[in-house]
Amino acid sequence: MIGLIAAEITKTFKRRTFWVLTAVLALLTAFLAGIFFFLPRVVDDGFPTIAKPEIYIFGAAQVLGQTWFPLILSAMALAGELATSAWATALTRNSRRGQHLVARLITSTISAWLAMIFAIALFSVAAYFFATGSGAPTVEEWLGVAWKALLVQFTWVGLGLAFSAWLRSVGPAIGAAIAFSFIEGLLLLWSGWRPVSLSLATSAILGELDAGGFGPIFGELPAFRSALFTALAWAVGAALLAWAGLRFRDA
């Protein structure tokens, strides 16, 4: 298992894809910072201004909303190999499909988390220099950001792997995951869906991060514990779905 994780780490960090995705994330973060730090200075009024210390947590929440990152990374890790003979070849070296899946789940989650932490740090440095106000989040608040970020990445990586295992091609897997995200958002219009909604659970987990007056659109967020359970259930369900897609279909 350790060997499989080491192999995934080599594949992730020695290829350009991860670094290109991280560069795009950094650019988007810089763009976001530009909007929040400089736009209020040139727009006369009507644009919300978020000052320190809230701006740090708000920026983190915006970065963590970039779910495309874990989706693409996980699709590259699994669908990219299922679409070629690389997956079959990997199974001729270690035939345990579940171990391959867990290694990808762990590596993609931690890789995505590291990229998110980097982007949050980037935003925070910009905020330190350019945002108005004073003060900073406590160490506990930063630790909260860190573990919540890990949970969010875990959930979306799991979904990316599930779509990859069944669709077996990078493009369709990413497309289906984005479509899922869109449809899941639309389902929030139906009150019966809200208790099991992943996006609502994610918002609730990030709850205190959701600063700056951009609160929930669909009424009250679920309680924190309930949201945590929902997100974990989605992550585990997605991982099981991915396992089934690998276990019961030919390599």
Binding site: G3, L4, A6, A7, T10, K11, K14, R15, R16, T17, E81, T84, S85, A86, A88, T89, A90, L91, T92, R93, N94, S95, R96, D250, A251
Partner: protein
Amino acid sequence: MDAIVVDGLRKRYRKTVALDGLSFAMPTGKVTGFLGPNGAGKTTTFRSILGLTKPDAGTMEVLGLSVATSLPRIVKRLGVIVEEPGLIKGLSGRNNLKVAARTLGRGKERVDELLRFVGLEADGRRRIDGYSKGMRQRLALAAALLGDPQLLILDEPLDGLDPAGQAQIKANLRGIAAEGRTVVVSSHNLADVEAMADYVVMINKGKLITSGRLDELLARTGYLLDIDQPQSAIAALSAVGIAATISDQRILVSSDDGKAISQALAAAGLYPAELARRTGRLESLFLELTQQ
């Protein structure tokens, strides 16, 4: 002990029968050529043995272990190239070998040694996207050797290679076989298999056509007979003491006396569409047995 024993293997893809009760054994410590025309079921057989596809029926043993119950233990003792080299795009040759070594649960100690063995030490740090097909095949062979395997299973390792690349791979395989390992090679290039193999398993339409030591198979002489009434022809030949057997709707006559064969058939009022001399080449044997 045989390296691979397959018994009654069946696999159907919707309406297509890929394997139809295939049974054979491949000996340990030899180079075995696994032959058959396109669509014969060679790759499906390999995929079944490696657990990449689940057969509908049949049993398989590799290195004395059951594939159904001991696949994780089996694959640790194998080196495999199946269908394509199975390399990771975007990584260098060296990093591809590192990934393979780690997937096997091994260290990277043998990476440089194997890059040298396949003649890629100068290109090891280049991304494989810029490799030729021959270089990729050689790298895949190096990856297959990383686990110091007892049994190498190579599906079309010479496919698409230029003559220099083929010569390199053949030299590598001869070296591996000389170390006493078992090598199973499927290939369309029968001259290459003839030059390398000690043993041959030939299949067609998912069934075994023939198997045996290559020198014994090629020592078979006699005639090949194409005739409308094969059972009557066998009876007519048997009556004059000439042995004959049906192989895939053709008759293999063991006698070298063409005149006696013609006379026996004519006496019975039987006239063959073709009476051809069998030659001691693998290609001739392959073509006659698979009716190509």
